[in-house]
């Protein structure tokens, strides 16, 4: 007869562990409540993963899938457009993450230093609002503002201020490889920085006021208090935010999709938009190839999660997964 192992309860008492079946029965209410979640996850998250197998097939909207082995991966790795998209995905995502996090930290500190509560709350509301606009709307607004035609507001200002000659054409910001990325980052800062401040403001509100009082007694200036009290207190949160978001860098799609165009593929095309075009821009798409690219993207994303987990353990003493 198998002997049940002992477990230590929260009060430190050693008791014999009950059999699994009995434990489930005793907690049947919780298991019953968990069951729909379990089914939901299986159906919505794991069942679709069976489609991964099509990365090894020629799979078109009509007809039966044909096994092609690693042919799609071979084609993918030999296609320059794929590597351009891969490089852009990493560059755009990481730079966007760094600058929006940096901007969020700076704005959080400024908000934290504001003495007028009404002004602080108003400003917070104003900078949160862009987050709630859809990317499609944001793209439409900025396309109008940055239009190169005579109706474009930014180009109009540049002409009025003499940066561009009146008879000269306006700058096509969204169709010029030199300008597209700065504009992209700028729009991202405008849209997401406010929302990003929430977590940092929460951290700032948790800093022990005695630290500031001690700094005051030591004769620290406001800048010194920010440097020696505020920033160190934020550092752990900054690293957590960076690590958590780093795991998602391969998933960039919507902000790029609504702002890019064929003139700037070299600096804007990311893996998701590349897959989109390969899948939906042709009459009889080969879903096998799209799946292969998607699978590769998922593998890289999975590797990034593991790297971030490792980095988290190193820096914070605990992992994120």
């Amino acid at each position: 007869m198998r002997k049940n192992k002992q477990v230590i309860t929260s009060t430190g008492v050693a008791v014999r562990e009950k059999p699994l079946g009995l434990r489930i029965w005793n907690n049947r209410g919780y298991y019953l409540m968990f069951l729909p979640v379990f089914i939901f996850v299986i159906i919505m998250n794991y069942w679709p993963m069976l489609g991964i197998r099509y990365a090894f097939y020629d799979y078109k909207p009509v007809g039966q899938p044909d096994w092609v082995g690693l042919e799609h991966f071979s084609k993918m790795f030999s296609t320059s457009a794929f590597w351009t998209a891969f490089k852009n995905t990493l560059e755009l995502s990481i730079v966007r993450l760094l600058i929006t996090t940096f901007a969020s930290v700076i704005i959080s500190v400024f908000l934290n230093e504001m003495g007028n509560l009404m002004a602080k709350k108003t400003l917070q509301t104003v900078i949160y609002l862009p987050h709630f606009m859809s990317w499609a709307v944001v793209a439409s607004i900025f396309s109008l503002l940055l239009s190169p035609s005579s109706t474009g507001m930014v180009n109009g200002w540049l002409k009025d201020l003499g940066f561009i000659a009146q008879e000269q054409s306006g700058i096509y910001f969204l169709a010029d490889s030199k300008w597209w990325r700065p504009i992209f980052y700028g729009i991202n800062i405008w849209k997401e920085t406010g929302w990003g401040t929430i977590i940092f403001l929460a951290t700032l509100s948790g800093i022990n006021p005695e630290l500031y009082e001690a700094a005051d007694i030591d004769g620290a200036t406001r800048m010194q208090k920010i440097r020696y009290v505020t920033f160190p207190a934020l550092s752990n949160t900054i690293i957590t935010v960076l690590i958590l978001n780093l795991a998602k860098v391969m998933n960039m799609f919507e902000p790029v999709f609504v702002l890019y165009n064929n003139a700037v593929y070299d600096v804007s095309d990311v893996i998701s938009t590349y897959v989109y075009r390969q899948t939906f821009a042709i009459a009889l798409p080969n879903y096998g190839y799209s799946t292969a690219v998607g699978l590769f993207k998922s593998l890289v994303g999975g590797a990034l999660v593991l790297i971030c987990n490792w980095a988290s353990k190193k820096t914070r003493g605990r992992g994120i997964v």
């Binding site: 457009a81 939906f280 009889l284």
Partner: protein, 548 residues
């Protein structure tokens, strides 16, 4: 207790969401199966539920009793859900005696929506397909061979334009897999009459590319809109420098001229890549020069057709253009209506093709296809042909439904009076019709405009209406006549497996060349060399399949 209650509610919500997901996905599958699997079983029973036996949908020669047709269509069907589709559907069902389920997909994303539909296994019975896509679906054996059904169709004796469908036959075998009820139509170049008058330009003087170019230059550099500012207008706007579907060049024909930047069959029957020709290079240089001089609206690179249209007839003409090449016939009327709506001088001039263009391009007509269920028995497919295609061209009730929409909803022959723009003294127009006179009614979604057509442009249809119902729009008739007098047929689209697989990559490579040359002012030979190094081997493979 409170927590338990919340937990139970959350659990119930989760279960409900799962059930809802299951319900949504199961329903189309069941519908889809209805016509393909359930129908044969029904042929065993004598249908006695309605008067279908007296209708064109009576059991076909094979004894097949068709009960329902699932139809997929793009945005060309004007009777949308908001615009009287239910009435159209009801009247069609009454006339034909078969249920019809209309699934109208987004027009701009139609191609990929069709792909997704097929991938989900949700096959319709009939659907509309652009001609270039038809070619790509031919090798899939998904499309029913309509050759015999078409050759023996009753509408053959009313056929006015047989060449349209003859051109769809597969070279060599002569088999036919789709039916086109209209010819393709194409784009013509419209010029704002008010702008021409303001600058003293006469349309008869625009005969060559140089004349055309000079006109664009004056539209850009002078003040055609009369707002006192020179240089705030452009010559021409388009939705892209090249289209993503055949015939590719129809929005800027004056610049492309004799170039055809796609796989094309020469007069000797040999396929070649028209994009790599000297004609295309010359066209790119023309576009480059015009773009650099500001004659082409810079947003042409990214504009959709909707944006290009709206810029053209915008209420504020600052930043607008004098020239716009767009669809002939019905659009002549529609564009004019939009100018009226926006309080802009509505008079448009149709520019006869300049010498270098010769003729506008009549695109390959979109076709209707029947999806083969692959059971080896043609009874179901023949029944669909009889119920759908034969009635579509009956010259009377059903053809009128497809042409003008539902009676007393979109059009009428009953005496009535109505007013459009009743609150605007300048635009107000009164209409009065006597009993028996065919007329179009106000649009449901825009009561200040008259309804124009349903699916068929009456001037493009291959079999004429025998009931004498005609669209009273002068502009539509004038526009269609102008186009038919100044057009030539588009080259045939290629059918090649490699092209089917790689058309997206090839298109991207072409766009890269166009951007490099036209927008960035790059060297055309260098850009073309990049094109060859990027997709040259793919093009060679396509040509080898096409010429093999």
């Amino acid at each position: 207790m409170k927590k338990k209650l919340v937990s139970m509610l959350l659990t119930a919500a989760m279960v409900a969401s799962l059930a809802a997901c299951g319900g949504e996905s199961a329903e189309p599958a069941a519908d889809s199966g209805n016509s393909e699997t359930a129908a044969p079983a029904e042929t065993q029973e004598a249908p006695a539920q309605d008067s279908a036996a007296e209708t064109p949908a009576a059991p076909a020669e094979g004894g097949y009793k068709l009960e329902k047709i699932n139809m997929v269509v793009d945005g060309n069907l004007s009777a949308t859900l908001d615009n009287g589709q239910a009435d159209f559907e009801k009247q069609w069902e009454e006339a034909v005696g078969v249920d019809i389920q209309i699934q109208q997909l987004d027009h701009s994303g139609y191609t990929d929506a069709v792909g997704r539909l097929f991938a989900s296994g949700d096959y319709p019975d009939v659907m509309i397909m652009p001609a270039d896509i038809l070619g790509q679906y031919l090798p899939t054996v998904l499309l029913w061979d309509i050759t015999e059904a078409y050759d023996n169709a009753d509408f053959q004796n009313r056929m006015l334009l047989p060449a349209i469908n003859e051109a769809l036959r597969v070279k060599g075998s002569g088999r036919l897999y789709g039916f086109s009820p209209t010819y393709g139509n194409g784009c013509v170049t419209y010029v704002k009459k008010a702008w021409m008058d303001a600058l003293g330009i006469n349309v008869d003087d625009i005969k060559t590319y140089d004349d055309y170019y000079t006109m664009l230059k004056r539209f850009h550099e002078e003040d055609p809109d009369g707002n006192g500012i020179n240089g705030d207008t452009y010559g021409v706007v388009a939705a892209g420098f090249i289209g993503n579907e055949a015939p590719y060049i129809n929005y800027l024909p004056e610049f492309w001229q004799d170039a055809y930047p796609a796989l094309i069959q020469g007069s000797d029957g040999i396929w070649y890549d028209g994009f790599q020709t000297e004609e295309t290079k010359a066209a790119l240089l023309r576009l480059q020069k015009a773009y650099a001089e500001g004659l082409i609206d810079p947003e042409t690179l990214t504009a959709s057709t909707k944006i290009a249209r709206e810029k053209w007839y915008s209420n504020d003409q600052k930043g607008s253009c004098g020239v716009f090449t767009y669809w002939a016939g019905r659009w002549y009327q529609t564009l004019t209506n939009n100018f009226v709506k926006n309080d802009v001088d509505p008079e448009l001039v149709q520019l006869p093709p300049i010498e270098e263009v010769g003729a506008y391009i009549n695109r390959e007509a979109p076709v209707w296809v029947i999806i083969d269920d692959g059971d080896g028995d043609n009874a179901r497919e023949q029944a669909i042909f009889d119920a759908f295609f034969e009635t579509m061209m009956d010259g009377d009730v059903v053809q009128t439904l497809w042409t003008y929409g539902a009676e007393d909803v979109h059009w009428s022959i009953h005496a009535e009076e109505f007013v459009t723009n009743p609150d605007d003294p300048e635009k107000r127009k009164e209409y009065s019709y006597e009993e028996g006179v065919f007329h179009l009614k106000p649009s449901i979604t825009d009561p200040n405009s008259l309804w124009a057509k349903n699916l068929f442009d009456p001037n493009l249809v291959v079999c004429e209406l025998t009931n004498g119902y005609g669209d009273p729009s002068d502009l539509l008739v004038t526009g269609s006549k102008f186009f038919s007098e100044h057009s030539k047929d588009a080259p045939m689209s290629p059918v090649s497996e490699t092209y089917t697989n790689e058309s997206g990559t090839i298109y991207d490579a072409k766009l890269a060349v166009i951007t490099s040359v036209v927008i960035d002012g790059g060297d055309v030979d260098a850009a073309m060399q990049t094109y060859v190094s990027t997709v040259g081997s793919i093009i060679d493979q396509c040509l080898s399949e096409l010429n093999g």
